[in-house]
């Protein structure tokens, strides 16, 4: 009998979420944070490669890029920037609530983050539809309408625009999937002040996607603003 009691006691010392190969919850959290950051390093270089392509073509065709950028309506892009920044705030507050063990608040802020993420994708869809109506989609056998002087490099600009914003939107969709997962885990009671690393790591991913947009918004929407005034 005493053996059973001793085993029971030993189990109480360990958090059920502590994997056997880690010495402590702190060591486990540190390892998972580092793992997520190493993944984000590859993501930074992945988007970095696409941004480098943008830079090379832009310095080859600066005027065409400015004119093509001026064809993109700023307001939806600016609203989307605000939506994403707001979602980053609610994500940070979700992690904060997880740290303090307020389960209801964690779920509330994750849901708000997801709604904002979905709103972003909705506005992005509206923008893509506008581009379709204006004839600014290169390829797919669609008619590409643009000033004859810049038509070829403008197609390059819009190819880069769709690749960058498309990859970003794909990351948003994956982010919504991760948030759904986190919502279920929080509801099930897996998340606690001793084990909130999953929420924190999901947050790192979400903030990273926000950072990508922080660069995409000026580089794609704002480089041709003064063109119409000249």
């Amino acid at each position: 009998m005493s053996n059973v009691a001793a085993v029971g006691q030993a189990e109480h010392h360990h958090n059920p979420n502590l994997a056997h190969h880690f010495e402590s919850m702190e060591a486990q959290k540190e390892a998972s944070l580092l793992g997520m950051w190493l993944f984000l390093v590859t993501e930074i270089l992945f988007f970095g490669g696409a941004l480098t392509a943008y830079m090379v073509y832009r310095q080859w065709y600066p005027d065409a890029f400015a004119h093509a950028s001026a064809e993109i309506a700023i307001l939806p892009g600016a609203i989307n920037t605000a939506v994403l920044i707001f979602s980053s705030l609610t994500m940070a507050l979700a992690v904060h609530a997880a740290q303090t063990g307020e389960r209801g608040k964690v779920m509330f802020f994750i849901v708000i983050t997801m709604i904002l993420g979905a709103a972003f994708l909705g506005i992005k869809g509206y923008e893509y539809h506008e581009k379709y109506l204006e004839g600014h989609i290169p390829g797919f056998g669609l008619e590409f309408r643009f000033d004859e002087e810049y038509i070829r490099p403008a197609q390059i600009f819009f190819s880069i625009y769709f690749v960058l914003t498309g990859l970003h939107a794909l990351h948003m969709i994956i982010g919504l999937g991760i948030m759904t997962w986190m919502l279920i885990w929080t509801k099930k009671g897996v998340i606690s002040p001793d084990y909130y690393a999953p929420i924190e790591i999901a947050g790192l991913y979400w903030h990273f996607v926000d950072i990508v947009w922080i660069f995409l918004f000026p580089l794609l929407y704002l480089i041709g603003r003064h063109v119409h005034h000249v």
């Binding site: 919850m25 702190e26 959290k29 540190e30 944070l33 580092l34 950051w37 190493l38 984000l40 390093v41 930074i44 270089l45 970095g48 490669g49 941004l51 480098t52 830079m55 090379v56 310095q59 080859w60 700023i74 600016a78 920037t81 605000a82 920044i85 707001f86 980053s88 705030l89 994500m91 940070a92 507050l93 904060h96 740290q99 303090t100 001793d194 924190e200 947050g203 790192l204 903030h207 990273f208 926000d210 950072i211 922080i214 660069f215 918004f217 000026p218 580089l219 704002l222 480089i223 603003r225 003064h226 005034h229 000249v230």
Partner: protein
């Protein structure tokens, strides 16, 4: 356990402040873009974007309160990103054709 927990809980007020700074930065970058400053437009635009990204990384992503190993991973990614961009542009910008 609680006596040696290393996780630092960032006060909510700081999150609100960072949010405000990011919104102001967004408005500022839009406003500056409407003024023709030549090459300076790019410099200011990127300076604002880098500042906003740094705020997100340091506070929302908690890197300011993280271990040196995390700092190394973040710093390393910036370093290799700069190699990628600078060495590529070093070639393309220096070509005579």
């Amino acid at each position: 356990m609680s006596e040696h927990t290393e996780h630092h809980i960032v006060p909510k007020s700081l999150y609100y402040l960072i949010f405000l700074a990011l919104m102001v930065g967004t408005a500022l970058t839009w406003w500056v873009a409407t003024i023709d400053l030549g090459m300076m437009n790019n410099v200011i635009m990127l300076a604002i974007a880098v500042t906003k990204a740094t705020l997100v990384v340091l506070f929302f992503m908690h890197v300011k309160y993280s271990s040196r190993l995390i700092w190394l991973a973040v710093g390393g990614s910036v370093f290799f990103l700069l190699i990628l961009i600078v060495l590529t542009l070093n070639d393309y910008l220096a070509r005579g054709w």
